[in-house]
């Protein structure tokens, strides 16, 4: 009898131990090394904000996490990455970098070790080693969405869009609710010119995070590119209703109204943004410049447009103002200021590489060639620009503008069929844009579809 009881007891204990082991094994491993639950909660909140692209909020949470646990290396890394390089923060960043250099990696999770080691590699200007560290980690942990996302971002940054899209789709398989992946896939679909897919991806993105501003903004940006201005406005306003300080949506609303040919409304948006403190002051200033230059050009006051754009170009130094000034110069002739600025830009950015900036340089150089009476040269630069400037990332209007400019250059170069094909490609995307764009010379105006 006793023997049986003992056997039964042993059996029960064995089962309990086994169940405990299984339960323990089934628990998700700790993602971030910290002994402070509050610090961990702050990190998770920061991750959430980061996913929503509320980077300022995210930075604040990371800093709070660091206050709670000064040894939390992941928070250190994030604070370094997210902190704007402004006075007052450089010292903090420098201190954190030093701490990261000397941090003991022994107690960290493999993911944290990977992050710190690759950070150190980049500090040492060894991006290849940083990539190797990531690759090694991914070989061990292929399903860690965090690491996968880093790889996706690298593809993205390298303008390696095919692998980037595959990578982000893989990320959505690992975590269907990794909303930033949806956002990126939407933009990548735009790059492929698959606007229906892009719209679907952005709709999914919006479905997943309707309380965030960026999904609405991304969808609105696509809709604006496609000429569905009313729908786009609803999305921008929905984004601002969610978060009135989401500046990209204010800026997109300004652009939207300019495309509609309603500079007054655009100006109203700028005013509202200012009142809502929706954008930083520099952004607001830029928007005012855009409105001023665009409205002058839209009214055919090319000299005024040129003047406004040149002034803003000198004040803000943004490529958009350079391009506007150049566009006005197509009507009134090139100015020395503009020529010098383009040269300076080309020298600073260069013309190689598949980056938006180089695309802008080619665009500027193409317009310069037109001003110089070199249409074939312009065509080359404008084609290069078209390859580099994406539909997304706030560049859609610029890309369409560049294509119409390319069509103008082709006509100037005596290649009207090619010009018409280019115009047709724009028309298929946004008929209104082709019909209403008045900033370009007359010969670039488009026939109605038919």
């Amino acid at each position: 009898m006793t023997k049986k009881v003992l056997i039964l007891l042993a059996l029960v204990l064995g089962v309990a131990a086994g169940a405990g082991a299984v339960w323990r094994a089934s628990l998700p491993p700790a993602e971030w090394t910290t002994g402070s639950k509050e610090a961990l909660a702050a990190v998770l909140a920061a991750r959430e904000a980061e996913m929503q692209l509320y980077f300022e909020e995210a930075l604040a949470h990371y800093e709070r996490a660091l206050e709670l646990d000064p040894g939390l290396v992941f928070a250190m890394l994030k604070v370094v990455q997210l902190s704007p390089p402004v006075e007052g923060r450089r010292e903090v960043i420098a201190r954190l970098v030093e701490e990261l250099k000397s941090a003991d990696l022994g107690d960290l999770t493999p993911r944290e070790r990977m992050l710190v080691e690759s950070f150190r590699a980049r500090l040492d200007h060894e991006p290849e080693r940083a990539a190797e560290i990531l690759d090694a980690y991914l070989r061990e942990h292929p399903d860690d969405p965090y690491a996968v996302e880093i790889r996706c971002r690298r593809y993205w940054a390298d303008n390696d869009m095919g692998p980037a899209e595959a990578c982000y789709r893989r990320l959505t398989e690992l975590d269907p609710n990794w909303v930033e992946a949806q956002n990126r896939i939407g933009y990548l679909a735009m790059e492929r010119g698959d606007f229906a897919d892009a719209e679907e991806q952005f709709e999914i993105y919006r479905y997943l995070a309707p309380e965030e501003a960026n999904p609405h903004d991304s969808l609105g940006e696509l809709l604006m590119l496609l000429g569905r201005y009313d729908e786009a406005e609803r999305e921008f306003r929905a984004a601002l209703a969610t978060r009135s300080t989401f500046c990209p949506s204010w800026e997109n609303l300004v652009t939207l109204n300019l495309l509609r040919g309603d500079p007054r409304a655009a100006e109203g948006v700028v005013t509202a943004a200012r009142q809502a403190e929706g954008c930083p002051q520099p952004n607001l200033a830029l928007q005012r410049c855009r409105v001023a230059a665009w409205s002058a050009g839209d009214a055919g006051r090319w000299a005024e447009m040129h003047q406004a754009a040149t002034e803003c170009m000198q004040r803000t130094g943004t490529s958009e103002m350079i391009l506007l000034a150049l566009a006005a110069g197509l009507h009134v002739g090139a100015s020395e200021t503009t020529t010098a600025t383009v040269a300076e830009l080309a020298e600073r950015v260069g013309t190689e590489g598949h980056y938006i900036e180089t695309g802008h340089v080619h665009l500027a150089l193409g317009m310069r060639r037109l001003q110089e009476g070199d249409p074939p040269g312009a065509v080359e630069h404008l084609r290069a620009a078209d390859e580099r400037v994406p539909f997304g990332q706030g560049q859609g209007v610029t890309k369409l503008f560049g294509r119409l400019l390319l069509a103008h250059a082709l006509r100037q170069a005596g290649r009207p069929e090619e010009a018409e094909a280019v115009v047709e490609s724009v028309r298929r995307i946004n008929l209104s844009f082709v019909r209403d764009m008045r900033l370009l010379p007359k010969d670039a105006e488009r026939r109605p579809p038919g």
Binding site: E173, N177, E203, I204, Y207, L208
Partner: protein
């Protein structure tokens, strides 16, 4: 011995199927948020198969064909994620759904209000009821026929129908339970066609049995049968595997119906069609009418149930790509369990007896009538609500009156059809048995009765055969019924083992314990003799022999006087064994047959006796005609004689021999044997007397002749002759020569009334007693007025009512007191004997011979 309970594996399977179905339904009532979306079973797909009416999804505009992309702001890759997403929400909450529309494929976000899970629409409720109907009918059959192979397969089939209907048609949501239940339902879909076909291969009779055996005879081989079953069960599985994985592996898109490969549905359809054809062929060849009627009902129900199912659930989805009619294909499936239940009830299908008490039925009838009235009142109230009629105080009174007047007649009217519907077969059998009983009772010819029993009983009860053995001494000899067991008398669901004996024995010695057992019960099934078989090895041997010969029941025909016969009954042609009620009817019938048989025998004996009587009368007449009309001893002699046999014919006689001489005799034995012996003796004497006038020679020769007859029959003879002892000699006047062989001494009444006995000769043994003779005659002188009275022993041995013999003294007294001639004396003695015996037949033949001395002309004959 096979245990009298169902196979454990089958019970476990049934329990598991029932548990799964029941828990599946219970699960649907658990308080979980539910959107009303019914998903297809396609792995990884969240395509909406249908939407429960008035559910949150229905109100949100989600429709069949849509795909659920996200729930509660979470994207779904699987149903499990959908279940998780729903579990995070609460009943009553409104969840954002991302839906890809079926038309155009656009994404749309809709708000779905989550409610409690419902069991689904009416259609699923119907499917559940149907599934459980199948299950309980199958279970009922299994419990009533635990050893019947067809019952096993039927139960399996019903379990699969249960799982198919409850689980496969479950309005599946996202949960793992849904997935599990659906997969089990799909498994049922794989097994269902095979078990369906399997069932109709052995139902209502195995296809190799009976007349279909010519076509399917090869299946009697166990290996062939096992191979066929293996193929039957394997094909649907292979088709399913190919449909699910094979097609995917080949990179093709397999068409599916309701989430299962279309190929599996087509296999189901094919098997069902083949099953129906088998059933139809089987039905056409069934020998028993009752079984045929039952099978016809099932065939009809199967056709009604399956054809719409095949068309709407298999054909339409395959050819028109629409599954919206599947439910309408499922609806008529109810005809299958309903017709099975009806056939079981009405025709004891699958050998299942249902005892339904009439009182219960009448209670149900009354309840139905009451319900009809209640509905009538409710309808009337609703119809005239608010009107003056409804408010009238006479309104309830009128209804009460209507109920009083109409209730009972209506109930009686309904009862009739109910009786006819439920008890028609039983009533028909009872009526037929009563008619047969009456026919048997009126049958006076035992041979015809025997024929009736062995011919009518099998037809009436659907037996393979019946045989009747008639009692002869200590055994029973086959009198009617086929000696060989019919060819279709095999076990019903498997081929018979080779070398099975099939002969009924020609005669049976029934052990006494069995006879005593049967005497108390009249009829017993061999299966019920287990205890008796254990007690008596002889009974066990006999029961084994009979069972081997295909006998199912044994009945005894007996009267209070004797055992008359034995009735052997085979099992029924159908798979139905004799039920208790039939056995009771049979007992009554056998009882009636016993009476009829006994009556027949008695009548036969009576007829034989009457014939004998008639023969005897003729014999008596013949015998009487043999007695001489005239007895003439010559001048001076007066003779009177009388012979009264104890029965029609007797052993006494008198005769006149050439000489002349008077001879009277009494042979041992009476009636026919006595008469024959008497005739033989008379003939012997007459033939010998022609050549031998000497009485001693005559007696010696007659003695030898009679002795040689060898029958040890003796003949007592008396001889009187007025001549001398030698041939041709004539004695002195008034002298008589006499010889006595075994006869009593004659009495001599003298003229003065004195009576003396004549002296006995020295040798007086009856003739035929000894080989040697040695008879010597004596002589006696009769004066005028003397009278000699010779008589047989029947005279003095005649008994009065109290058993007192008449006696010689009484005879002597009577002779002394009776003056007159011989005739008067003979008549007086006979009259006195009649008085003495009160007119009863004498115990023995009575012969009187009176001889008187007178003038030569006075001669009398009797």
């Amino acid at each position: 011995m096979t245990p009298n309970r169902p196979p454990t594996a089958l019970l476990v399977l049934g329990f598991a199927a029932f548990l799964l179905a029941a828990l599946s339904i219970v699960d649907m009532y658990l308080p979980r948020p539910y959107d009303g979306v019914v998903l297809t079973e396609t792995p990884g797909s969240l395509r909406v198969q249908s939407v429960v009416p008035d559910s949150g999804a229905d109100r949100a505009g989600i429709a069949a064909g849509d795909r659920i992309v996200g729930i509660g702001r979470e994207l779904l890759r699987s149903k499990a994620q959908g279940a998780e997403a729903l579990n995070d929400l609460e009943i009553g909450a409104t969840a954002a759904y991302l839906v890809r529309r079926a038309d155009g494929g656009e994404l749309e976000e809709v708000a779905v209000e989550l409610g409690r899970r419902q069991i689904g629409g009416t259609s699923y409720l119907y499917a559940c009821l149907l599934g459980f109907s199948f299950f309980f009918i199958g279970l009922f059959v299994l419990l009533h026929q635990p050893r019947l192979r067809a019952g096993h397969v039927f139960f399996l089939l019903c379990c699969l129908f249960l799982v198919f209907l409850v689980c496969r048609l479950r309005p599946a949501s996202y949960s793992a339970v849904d997935a599990f239940v659906l997969r089990t339902g799909t498994l049922a879909l794989v097994l269902l066609p095979a078990s369906f076909l399997h069932f109709f291969l052995i139902f209502p009779r195995p296809v190799w049995d009976g007349r279909l055996g010519e076509t399917f005879g090869a299946l009697r081989n166990r290996r062939t049968w096992a191979t066929l079953l293996g193929v039957v069960y394997l094909v649907p599985a292979l088709v399913f595997v190919y449909g699910v994985w094979g097609v995917q592996g080949l990179g093709r898109v397999g068409r599916s119906i309701s989430g299962a490969p279309a190929g599996s549905w087509w296999v189901l359809a094919l098997y069902m069609v083949v099953g129906l054809l088998l059933l139809a062929a089987n039905w056409a060849h069934l020998p028993a009418s009752r079984e045929r009627r039952g099978a016809a009902i099932v065939l009809l129900g199967s056709i009604v149930g399956l054809v719409p199912f095949l068309v709407l659930a298999v054909g339409f989805p395959s050819f028109f790509q629409t599954e919206q009619f599947i439910f309408y294909g499922v609806v008529p499936l109810a005809a299958i369990p309903l017709t099975f239940a009806y056939a079981i009830f009405r025709f004891q299908l699958l050998n299942v007896r249902v005892i339904l008490r009439k009182s219960l039925l009448y209670t149900a009838t009354t309840a139905v009538v009451t319900l009809v009235y209640a509905l009538g009142i409710a309808s009337f109230n609703a119809l005239f609500q608010g009107t003056g009629l409804a408010r009238s105080p006479y309104f309830p009174l009128l209804f009460a009156l209507a109920i009083v007047l109409l209730f009972e007649p209506l109930r009686r009217r309904i009862q009739g059809p109910m009786d006819r519907f439920f008890f028609a077969e039983r009533a028909r059998l009872q009526r037929a048995m009563v008619e047969l009983g009456e026919a048997l009772t009126g049958q006076q010819d035992p041979a015809q009765l025997v024929r009736d029993l062995v011919e009518v009983l099998p037809r009436l009860l659907g037996l393979r055969f019946a045989a009747l053995f008639v009692a002869q001494d200590d055994r029973f000899v086959r009198a009617a019924g086929s000696p060989a067991r019919p060819q279709d008398g095999r076990a019903l669901d498997r081929p018979p083992p080779p070398g099975t004996a099939a002969e009924l024995p020609a005669e049976i010695v029934v052990p006494e314990p069995l006879l005593e057992h049967l005497a108390g019960r009249t009829l017993a099934r061999l299966d019920d003799l287990d205890l008796l078989r254990l007690r008596s090895p002889a009974v066990d041997r006999l029961a084994s022999t009979l069972a081997e010969a295909g006998v199912d029941a044994v009945g005894l025909l007996a009267s209070s006087r004797r055992r008359l016969g034995l009735v052997l009954l085979s099992p029924k042609l159908s798979q139905v064994t004799l039920e208790a009620e039939e056995l009771d009817l049979l007992r009554g019938l056998l009882h009636q047959a016993s009476i009829a048989l006994e009556t027949g025998r008695l009548l036969e004996e009576r007829a034989r006796r009457a014939e004998l009587e008639r023969d005897l009368e003729i014999a008596a007449a013949i015998q009487a005609s043999l007695l001489p009309r005239r007895l003439d001893l010559g001048p001076g002699w007066r003779v009177a004689a009388a012979c009264r046999p104890a029965r029609h014919v007797g052993g006494d006689f008198y005769s006149i021999l050439p000489g002349p001489a008077l001879l009277y005799g009494d042979v041992s034995g009476k009636a026919v044997s006595g008469a024959l012996m008497m005739m033989a003796a008379s003939e012997v004497f007459h033939s010998l007397a022609l050549a031998n006038r000497s009485p001693e020679d005559l007696f010696d020769l007659a003695n030898r002749r009679l002795y040689e007859l060898g029958e040890r029959s003796f003949v007592a003879v008396g001889y009187f002759s007025p001549n001398g002892a030698g041939e041709g000699s004539t004695g002195p006047e008034g002298h008589l020569t006499y010889l006595l062989a075994g006869q009593p001494s004659p009495l001599l009444r003298h003229g003065d009334g004195r009576v003396d006995e004549l002296p006995f000769p020295e040798h007086r043994l009856p003739l035929g007693a000894l080989r040697t003779g040695g008879y010597r005659p004596l002589a006696v002188r009769l004066e005028t007025g003397d009278l000699l009275l010779a008589y047989s022993d029947g005279v003095v041995e005649a008994q009065g009512p109290d058993g007192e013999p008449f006696g010689q003294d009484r005879l002597e007294t009577l002779l002394a007191a009776t003056p007159g001639d011989p005739q008067s004396v003979v008549e007086a003695v006979l009259a006195q004997l009649d008085r003495f015996t009160h007119g009863e037949l004498p115990y023995d033949d009575v012969t009187l011979l009176a001889i008187g001395r007178s003038r030569p002309a006075e001669i009398h004959t009797p």
